[in-house]
């Protein structure tokens, strides 16, 4: 048994041992008395026992218990202070818990599926290309040959019409092992079964999503076994999926079908046979065999890809490989995208958001700590007497520091508990407010709890250390440095809350800008019709026939003014980018393939040069922002894009229309005439003469009559625009909330310090008043000490905001991160608040009777 265990055993039986020791000593004394030999006093028995206990090296525990008891007593004695301190700190911690909880959900916490750690997701990567999906035959090829994976899963999505329902359903076509492999629970009936549903000869089956079952089938359990009509095809409902199943993607599905049946429901779909890397494929996951590392999977895939290239030399990209990424996390559940040029992962895209959110959280915490620090410091001064007494009865300075720190820690732990609760509630509210997926359940796990405790203890150190050290060091005659420290704490609070306020102001300005500013294209009267022809294998001449027929039909509708065609409808979720490069810096260029009427119809001005003629090739138009970025100070019309035979002559410069990245002032656009190959992915934009209100339905009905197979998605651009602005507005509102919390905290902090200062100087104020000083002079005397720290804080805050706001650049709708209005407004608001916080308590001091304050102690 080592010393550690003996000590542990001692601690467990401490009371008993202590009693035994006392008994033993009593016996000793008795014996000595009897002999008369040691007739002298036995000594202070308590002190002796304490010394004996010290041998076990656990006096600290006694002291700790003592300190904790004392801290608790102290907290109860001044409930006002305790409440203020608790709430302040809990607010600071709560905001951080919410921020971390979000980070935890998105990055750290695995999805609620079976063994998420061993899931990997595959991406296709080539030096100049990226895609998050693979051709289905390639998936099949890897699946049958892999040795490192125990299973491979695939998913494709489509929109299907359920008979008798107007809005199309979101359908996920999945490999039949999908549910089994992920351990998905069925709410009713069965889910897909790899032993039958992988077989194309079997009759089609469907699994209903829980929501659809509730919404459309009135939660009727007898739906299992019934046939439903999807896109006019029959499928038998075999079960209902449990509500708790997350799947592997963010956008859930209404209905799940076997992937092998996809062409039956999406008529003409080439999905299962298409080898081309440039057309739609399936999202692919794999499950690593136990003990197999991701690197081994990647190595095997490299080998298999080389083999595959030999069989199908034409169908790949130059230098293509499969990238293996973790698959069981929310961050890997992003949507499908592909691009030419460099592709930032979701993690990179989220990085600035997380940086921003954590910066804001830390700022709030800094304000809360600064606030508490000044409270504690003020109290430390008020407790000078108590501390002097303690010190004169023999408390060492270390012991004193420890006691004061214990008080902070007790406070911090209580506040951590409160903050944990508040933060989880806050995150829950935010999740509901932003309509996050239902399965993203916010629950404190060990990471969140550990984080909370860490932040709480950090806060205890931050706000408790300064006053504790101060008390331990010299006690008296330290007022100068005490004042200095209080000033510093005020400066910190002002600076941190100022940063928050400015950032909130910028976001609010951005949202306002989004609503009031001309986005550079006319969206108010347009309706997007995206038929998704490629998904049905419709392309080339057939696609052109469809598009012509649809145009004709739509032009026949009352109120339709004009129609144009684009590969990337404005405000849609489809985008295509090519990589641009200037001075070694890479940036994405949004590529639009349009018809000649697009510019005029979308209200995008052609500033220089001309629009291409119908059927013209080898030409492009660029946005003004792109011209400025690529060829500053040069004539854009003399430039070429790309190299060799495929190079394009720049024939015109258009106004900036960031139709796919509304809020990003750095987005640049390139327009090319559409070609035969684009026809399968073209969408129509319809401009109405009057209001678009309620017209989307007419348009949808009209285009559906063109072809019974195709199910176009139809929406007004106003709706899409409103959705986007709304989400920006929510961000701005949340940031403003934080900003005002910080403002209020800092305000209370300053007011508290000033009123403390005033009460300490009552006597001086009384003398001044008695000698005939004007109230204004007195107020100046009290307030002037705080002008400098507030001023320095404001300057530092503005500087900090200038640095941090660069992270927000892409979210500000072109408002400069240094927007003077936002800065001035925030600083003015802050200065007003600070003045009020100084003047209020100072006035109170003035109203006191000078004679009475002179008589005090």
């Amino acid at each position: 048994m080592g010393e550690f265990w003996r000590r542990a055993a001692y601690l467990l039986t401490k009371w008993k041992r202590d009693r035994e020791l006392a008994e033993e000593m009593a016996f000793h004394q008795e014996m000595a008395d009897r002999r008369g030999a040691g007739s002298k006093e036995f000594g202070n028995e308590l002190r002796l026992r304490e010394e004996a206990r010290e041998a076990w090296g656990c006096m600290w525990l006694d002291h700790l218990a003592q300190d904790v008891r004392f801290a608790g007593r102290l907290m109860r004695r001044s409930p006002g202070f305790t409440l203020a301190a608790l709430l302040t700190l809990a607010a600071g911690i709560g905001v951080n818990v919410a921020a971390f909880g979000f980070f935890n959900l998105a990055i750290l916490k695995p999805l609620p599926v079976k063994d998420p750690e061993s899931l990997v997701r595959f991406h296709r990567l080539a030096p100049r290309n990226y895609a998050s999906d693979l051709p289905y035959p390639a998936f099949d090829f890897y699946r049958t040959r892999t040795q490192t994976l125990s299973a491979m899963l695939a998913l494709d999505f489509a929109r299907l019409r359920l008979q008798g329902v107007a809005t199309p359903l979101r359908a996920h076509f999945v490999s039949a092992n999908f549910f089994l492999e992920l351990g998905a629970p069925a709410h009713l009936g069965r889910l897909l079964d790899p032993s039958r549903d992988e077989d194309p000869a079997e009759a089609a089956v469907a699994v209903l999503g829980y929501d659809l079952w509730q919404r459309q089938f009135g939660a009727d359990p007898s739906v299992v076994g019934r046939a439903i009509q999807l896109n006019g095809r029959q499928a038998m409902v075999v079960g209902v999926l449990s509500e708790t199943f997350s799947g592997l993607t963010f956008n859930g599905a209404d209905v799940w079908l076997p992937l092998r049946k996809q062409p039956e429901f999406v008529t003409g779909s080439p999905l299962l046979t298409n080898w081309s890397a440039d057309e739609d494929g399936v999202d692919v996951w794999g499950r690593r065999k136990p003990g197999v590392k991701s690197a081994a999977v990647e190595a095997e895939m490299k080998m298999l890809t080389a083999e595959l290239r030999k069989l199908h030399p034409e169908e790949g990209w130059q230098g293509e490989r499969l990238m293996v990424a973790p698959g069981g996390y929310a961050q890997s559940a992003g949507g499908r995208n592909r691009s030419t040029g460099p592709q930032p992962g979701l993690r990179q895209q989220l990085a600035p958001i997380f940086a921003m959110v954590s910066a804001m959280g830390l700022l709030i915490l800094a304000v809360a700590c600064g606030n508490l620090g000044s409270l504690m410091l003020a109290r430390g001064v008020a407790r000078e007497r108590e501390i002097q007494i303690r010190s004169s009865v023999g408390a060492g300075s270390l012991r004193l520091v420890r006691q004061l720190l214990t008080e902070s820690v007790v406070l911090a732990l209580a506040a951590s508990g409160l903050g944990l609760w508040a933060g989880i509630q806050l995150l829950n509210v935010l999740m509901r407010w932003t309509q996050g997926p239902k399965w993203l359940v916010v629950q404190p796990d060990w990471r969140v709890i550990g984080f909370t405790l860490g932040v709480g203890l950090l806060a205890a150190l931050l706000f408790g250390l300064a006053p504790a050290l101060q008390a331990g060091r010299g006690l008296v005659g330290q007022r100068r440095s005490n004042l200095w420290m209080r000033k510093a704490l005020i400066g910190v609070q002002v600076a941190a809350s100022c940063v928050l306020l400015i950032l909130a102001g910028l976001l609010a300005r951005g949202t306002r800008e989004a609503v009031t500013r001309d986005p550079g294209f006319a969206y108010e009267q347009s309706i997007t019709v995206d038929p998704g022809l490629g998904g049905h294998g419709i392309k080339g001449a057939e696609a052109r026939r469809y598009l012509e027929a649809a145009k004709e039909r739509l032009l026949g509708l009352p109120g339709v003014e004009a129609i144009t065609m684009t590969s990337t409808p404005p405000l849609g979720n489809r985008s295509s980018t090519v990589g641009g490069e200037k001075d070694g810096k890479q940036f994405p260029i949004f590529l639009h393939r349009v018809d000649a009427a697009y510019f005029q119809m979308m209200g995008i001005p052609v500033l220089r040069g001309r629009v291409f003629r119908e059927g013209e090739k080898g030409v492009a138009l660029v946005s003004e922002s792109m011209a400025r970025r690529l060829w500053p100070g040069q004539d854009p019309l003399a430039q070429w894009l790309g190299e060799g035979d495929n190079r394009l002559a720049v024939i015109g410069v258009t106004g900036n229309a960031r139709s796919l990245a509304l809020s990003d002032p750095d987005a640049v656009e390139q327009y090319e005439p559409w070609t035969e190959e684009d026809l399968g992915s073209m969408a129509l934009v319809v401009r109405m003469a009057g209001s678009v209100e309620g017209r989307a339905g007419d348009v949808a009905r009209a285009v559906r009559e063109v072809d019974s197979v195709v199910t176009p998605s139809v929406q007004t651009m106003r709706e899409a625009f409103a959705r986007q602005v709304e989400s920006s507005g929510k961000v701005a509102l949340a940031a403003s909330g934080l900003g005002f919390v910080a403002l209020a905290l800092a305000g209370f902090g300053i007011a508290g310090v000033v009123s403390f200062e005033a009460s300490r100087r009552m006597k001086e104020i009384g003398i001044r008043m008695a000698l005939g000083a004007k109230p204004l002079d007195v107020m100046r005397a009290v307030g002037q000490r705080f002008v400098l720290p507030v001023g320095v804080g404001l300057v530092l805050g503005a500087a900090g905001a200038a640095g941090l706001s660069q992270l927000l650049r892409k979210e500000l709708y072109g408002v400069s991160p240094l927007d003077p209005l936002a800065y001035a407004a925030a600083l003015a608001l802050f200065a007003t608040m600070a003045a009020a916080a100084v003047v209020g308590p100072a006035r109170k001091a003035l109203s006191a009777d000078p004679v009475r304050s002179l008589r005090q102690d």
Partner: protein, 108 residues
Amino acid sequence: MPKTEMPAGALSLMVLRVLQSGPLHGYAIAQRIHLLTDEVLRVEEGALYPALQKMLFKGWVKAEWGISDTNRKVRFYRLTAAGRKALEDEMSEYARVHGAIQAVLRKA
């Protein structure tokens, strides 16, 4: 009875040595040392009990309840194997230091 200062570290050495011949209770340990030193050294209770606790902590001795000569329930301390080892170490260390001091006293 003259009170003589005890050399540092000597107390635990003597306690261990005294316990070598068998378990004793605290008071008996003090008495034994007192008698063995011809009443030169007197073990203060204030030093004895912390020293015993330290030995318990280090695992040199074990405490067990027994009955004293005066028919009282009292705690006896028994030397453990580790205690025996410690006694040997302390004794040789003491001899070394003692020898060194002697050398100075003789030669200087």
